[in-house]
Amino acid sequence: MGDGQAPRAPGSGAIDVAGVRRRFAGHLALDDISLTVREGEFFSLLGPSGCGKTTLLRILAGLDLPDAGTVRIGGADMRDVPAYRRPVNTVFQSYALFPHLTVRDNVSFGLRMKKLPGQEIDRRVARAMELVQIGPLAGRRPSEISGGQKQRVALARALINEPQVLLLDEPLGALDSKLRKELQVELAALQRSLGMTFVYVTHDQEEALVMSDRIAVMRAGRIEQLDEARRLYEWPRTRFVGQFLGSCNIVEAVVGELSTPGARVESAFGPLTVGEGTFDRAPGSRVTLAIRPEKIAMLPSSAPPGDNRIPVRIARLVYIGSETHYELESAGQSLTAYAMNAGGTGPELRPGDAAVAVLPPASLVVLED
């Protein structure tokens, strides 16, 4: 993991996790997790359910304890620090608001536990509620407000304590998709304006891409790849990462002649030119290539043959408004291609038509597995 991160001395990040393991009733929920979350970044833990991301977050919060490994927050070892004394706060998936307290009392809870003077509590509560725009709800109880409002209350309740790191466990999971998209943007903007370190757990790859500076993709208790959001999407290292973040065509090939940069490979679609940069596979070895559907360009069948141009037949076509999704067939293999409906450009294609698909060499990514 960690090619997006320069080597750092332990204890220099907002959070340093080293060699953390956690076993539940015979299954390894976390297997040797090490990562550093930088000061002030929006860091996401992304993965399918059961991959261990929530377990890792709970270990950071102190609500669960690792069987092995260390967790440092702000450089301090958290081994003997109970949850209620850690400099982090959590926004829970189900919000976990106190049902018997008003919105105001929910928000002020953390400060009251710290026994701050009443005046200061009032001042900070007012500011926190203004920050997430829930001022008018102060006197209501959680049962009397909507899901989106609950989410804001949960956020204010955590933020008011000014934690070194804010932990968020799928906070938008229960909301409808429109509200969710609005809040994604709002939450990311809030994080940037506060300069607070966020660790965000989600299974929604789009959500992670929209909000995060860096993302750790998790699978079966391990970190599959940790990188900046953009690099993770453009340069997935494994089939899993490529297919979990968006969709991905997989092309099996055998390495032919190496060139600088890139290489020629032999695939089921015929010879292809791959990539830029150094290509570290020996000629004759098998490689797996990935290409995003939107990187594949569609040309009419009359287009002249050329490098990485594959004759295809359109098996299916889904028109979704802004884009058209094509399912293509060539040499018994299928490929998916997305084309923006920009208007005028591109051929008018129907199922059964012949066409030419272009796989740009720079968009063919060599996977490790």
Partner: protein, 305 residues
Amino acid sequence: MAPRRAEEVRFGERLTRSGELLRSALTSGPGILWVAVFLLAPLAAVAVMAFLTRGASGEVGQPLTLQSFRRLAGFGLFGFDPLYPLIVLRSLLLAAWTTAACVLVAFPMAFFIARLPPRFKTIALTLVIVPFWTNLLIRTYAWQILLAAGGPLSRGASALGVIPRGGALYPGTFAVAVGMLCAFVPFLVLPLYTAVEKIDWSIAEAAMDLGADARRVFRHAVLPQVAPGLVAGIILVFVPAVGQFVIPDLLGGARTAILGNAIQQQFGPSRDWPFGSALALVGMAVVLIGLWVHARTAGEGQDLL
């Protein structure tokens, strides 16, 4: 709610108002009738009885007076005597003590049962209920035998020096305490267990995350969640405990008068039904006032917790 019309569709059925009334009468009628005949009527009789006068040989008749209540308040034939106010107070204290002891015992039990694996949970709950399959009198006599002089528990206690050599745990305050606790604790365990079972532990985690240590997590995140069950249990224990007299009589040696046996005394040997009724009414009034105060403060009460 939509404005009521003469005709409503419910469960896909069109129901006219008269049809609805008929249905209500058929379903709720028997229950209402039962309560009216067997609860409200006797209650009204007791209420009237309390204001009547006892004749020389125990017969009841005119005139209507407050005589019974005056006597109850302590102003009898021989000047002021706080006997009856003390009896009421003693009953309330006994009930309060019983309730407090039951709360202390029921809390750990409810949490323990709720944490058991489902199979053992059923067994544990059955064990809590099993005593009810036996008559209260039989259970109380059983305690007499267990706690009597020469019994294993009394011998153990005297060996430990808790009671004098050859002494007995029965009759006495200890026996009453044990008997009351065992008779009433299931009434608190069951509602409390139901509440504990429904606790949303993520709220407790949220409290801990926000800086509450174990004690404050319990106070601010767990107790408010079990409060409804706790209050229900307290009412279920306190109300009947005020009137309970079989256990104090049988295990306490029938030496102290409390509300229950005082009422029984008036209706039985003393043949003073008006005074017995007055005692019953006052006992009921005290409990009802307690419940009313609770209901009034329930809203804010949750914040106090």
